[in-house]
Symmetry: C3
Subunit: 384 residues, 3 copies
């Protein structure tokens, strides 16, 4: 705009203003999980701390995203969450989810190195933003690999230009895409997950391939495979439990992902197997054990002018330990969710998710704990 009135051949170097380089956006989710609740003792630590007894309205996520292409080779992304707890009683502090920069090796940004705290490229649903996900929480099976989905590391991503454009389009067009984590990804990271202090001398290593196929009829299908290995140090163990002397266990998984993008019918399935620490109540010991689980989700994308309605159904299972929780808590999960997302306009969404849940979760404090129950979960989300 500064160049108006000048002849076209005058050379003017206009330095970009800060607000043209950096931008701010965000979203917030407010929930209530107590309607039609049949069992107030049924909880899910990994999902949402406001299930069950003595809970009410809850801000599940509040995000501010500062990002921008600050140089033709450098992209920065800093995302604080404003619904993080600094202790069990004091909530809603600002804590980082993402804080990374991408260093591109070529002008088309097909080859990039991501440095800092960012998502560990393990699974499709883990990569997909909670802003776009249909169900209120991620599946136990793959999300228990990397709680909060992130870690501090160096990640290399490669994708050809046309696939990068496709990854962007799958989000922009409301097709519930994952964003661009490359067709090929490879990384090393601390392994104790986001915002936790590194606890050993070894790094986790991960690799992923995920390829979106475009068919002539316009349908898009993505298939991916990913795996990681590393050594994990347990963060919280009851004092009476028998545990490896350094609390260190092998943490190794491989997963397959399949996605049919919703034009209008969508289908999504993932499964993973692996090994990790798990509490055994029979001998009060945290053992190295195998684990497995996954989910399948079907959904439908209905548009009425500006309004969008997405009914969905999801079934998930998980059998194994959860390394991030007390005593690498032992889990047996069978959950069925039936729900609907309604977007009256792009800045606002309502989700109703009826959950039929059967969960055994046991540690040294809760030795025999099988919980079954149903609940209607409601979420209001604002996007800005």
């Amino acid at each position: 705009a500064q160049e108006l009135g000048k002849s076209a051949d005058t050379k003017v170097t206009v330095e970009k203003k800060w607000f043209e380089t950096l931008s701010l956006r965000g979203y917030m989710q407010v929930r209530y999980n107590r309607l039609l609740e049949t069992n107030p003792d049924l909880g899910c630590e990994q999902c949402d701390k406001s299930w069950g007894d003595n809970n009410g309205l809850f801000i599940r996520r509040g995000r501010l995203v500062f990002s921008g292409n600050v140089h033709e080779r450098i992209y920065i992304y800093v995302q604080p969450d404003f619904a993080s707890s600094a202790s069990t009683t004091s909530n809603n502090f600002l804590q980082i989810r993402d804080a990374y920069f991408d260093l591109a090796f070529d002008s088309k940004k097909e080859y990039r190195l991501r440095v800092g705290q960012s998502k560990v490229p393990y699974g499709f649903e883990n990569m997909q933003s909670s802003q776009n996900r249909l169900t209120l929480d991620r599946n136990d099976a793959l999300n228990s690999a990397v709680v909060n989905e992130r870690d501090l590391g160096l990640f290399f991503y490669w994708a050809p230009k046309e696939k990068r454009d496709l990854f962007a389009k799958l989000v922009k067009d409301g097709l519930k895409g994952s964003g661009d984590y490359g067709v090929f990804g490879f990384g090393i990271y601390n392994g104790q997950t986001a915002n936790r202090t590194e606890a050993n001398d070894s790094q986790h290593v991960i690799a992923r391939v995920s390829y979106p196929f475009e068919f002539k009829n316009g349908q898009i299908f993505e298939a991916g495979i990913q795996g990681y290995t590393g050594k994990y140090v347990l963060p919280s163990v009851t004092s009476t439990v028998i545990v490896n002397s350094d609390k260190e266990y092998l943490d190794e998984r491989v997963a397959a992902s399949f996605v049919l993008y919703p034009q209008p019918f969508g289908l999504q399935a993932e499964y993973n197997i692996g090994t990790g620490p798990e509490f055994n109540k029979l001998n009060n010991t945290i053992e190295q054990k195998s684990l497995h689980g996954g989910y399948i989700q079907a959904f439908y994308n209905l548009k009425f002018e500006e309004q969008i309605v997405l009914p969905f159904v999801k079934y998930q299972i998980y059998r194994g330990g959860k390394k991030h929780e007390l005593d690498a808590r032992s889990y047996e999960v069978n959950d069925l969710e039936i729900g609907i997302e309604y977007q009256p306009f792009k800045n606002f969404e309502v989700v109703a998710d009826y959950t039929i849940s059967k969960r055994r979760y046991e540690d040294a404090v809760k030795l025999n704990n099988l919980q079954e129950g149903n609940l209607l979960r409601l979420q209001l989300q604002v996007n800005f």
Copy 2:
């Protein structure tokens, strides 16, 4: 600006830039409370943690406000405070005060639902921003209903367009208005107050009516009435104190508010009565007891071109428990404040507030504690 040079009848859809939709503003208050202090043992936990012994300069509030009409029906408001403590020794973390969105039901936004953490509409002074208040702290009587003034809930507000404009004008013109919390407000909220985890299964319920009358001579008078009820769970109790088995007490109040806006003479008075938990030192028990108290404040609005001077005097009393404090601490408050606010220009303010205070505040640790004293309180405030 992008349309310059095009003919007027060319239709151009210009998507708004992020910085045209969202905006950032804020303020900061730096205080010193030790001048002319006659009693270093006199404190006020609810007011300002830097009264008395071993205190010095103090950042009382630091606020960044991210807000905007992100859609014709959606307004978002995210306000972190940057002077919040994560523990008794580690200060100046960023913690949310407000994080809400307004969903308007009509194009004039006369009917709105506010979702998230926001101010509980109880009292005029509680609604008025600290950026605009004359005295350094809010009155004990009404503020002890909702510490930090906020909670997580759903609030419905209604006000006709002309009253909405008036509420906005009362702030913009420096008349120390409260902002727009509707002529009528109704809400449900968790009840444990801002940033605290919900602790029982019941919600608080509140209703409020506040109407500003405009007289022919230009004077504006506002009268309001408000009341709430709910069950509150005590957050901190000395182990030896006798308390209800679930620490739950009835928490119920009603208040009346009167404001004559300062053109140039202003007058403000509020009073509330109710019931809540209160420590009884005679039997070492936290009992359900009645409470009452309020304040009256007179002030004058002097303008010398850009400069503004506002002398004020305020008298307040309170007799009852404070549910948020240790053992629902028992209070008897009689305070007189005489002060002046000086704004040399709109971005900067100085307040001097001479406080003559008589406070009995007692819990299981401080059984007999009547403190009397005077102090001169100083505040520098920057608005940006």
Copy 3:
């Protein structure tokens, strides 16, 4: 831009948009300290918590700076760090580093009062931003005077217009300047350092003179002297240690600083002497003791078109207590650093710093603790 098409003599008062008044910028540093490490027990609490055993990748600093001239007399500066810990296990919370405003007494802003939390003007390297410093951490000797370099106070600065322009130019031109802390500075501050609660009734007092000389050949040389005095209350003392009954000690230092700015050869040296608390292992007592130390650094500024390379060497010593650490830990430091900073373009920097370190640091828990070792330290920094 709004005035286009209007005749030049039409008077239009255009109120500035928020984004023209306020701006956002920042930087982030990601480190790895474990390459070529010869002694995993060698640590440096004041420098970087990721030295040695059980450490990996680490975000050392992440900064967002909100600043602006919000009025012709008022400048605000709010800088949260997004790599702050709220406890030993929970990292990456947002916590304030700077939160201040400058109130100018004249239109040229030669006389300013800085109010809030800001850098205490003690030493050149302490004033210089970590965004610009060559070595990965500040020297122990002067930085142990004010950990995190900041405190809550009132600081008066004076510098003539041409020196203010020079201070700005020394940063903008990549000459590793300190920024503008005046030719003369004077201040009072709480004395417990940034983000810590004041712990006694007395303030620290500081004064500083620093003058940059410009020579005819273009070389610029700056010399400074500074000193402070106050009483400091120890924040953490082992229960068995003998300590002053109020944990209060005299805290008093004076320092000299010399800088030859790198055109292309740079030289920097500082030294300080003083007194403060220090742990004495012979009698298990924290005593009032003298302290001294400083550093000398030589460096070279090489430019290849857009690229910049800066090799450097630094030697430092320190002998004394560190008041901020457990038991006012006793220190004997001898460190040599040889390194290089490489900026391929202005938004990105790589530093390699080979450190040859010999450190004795002892408190009541570690009574005999001399650690020697070498390590290669790597840092990637992004500026935005």
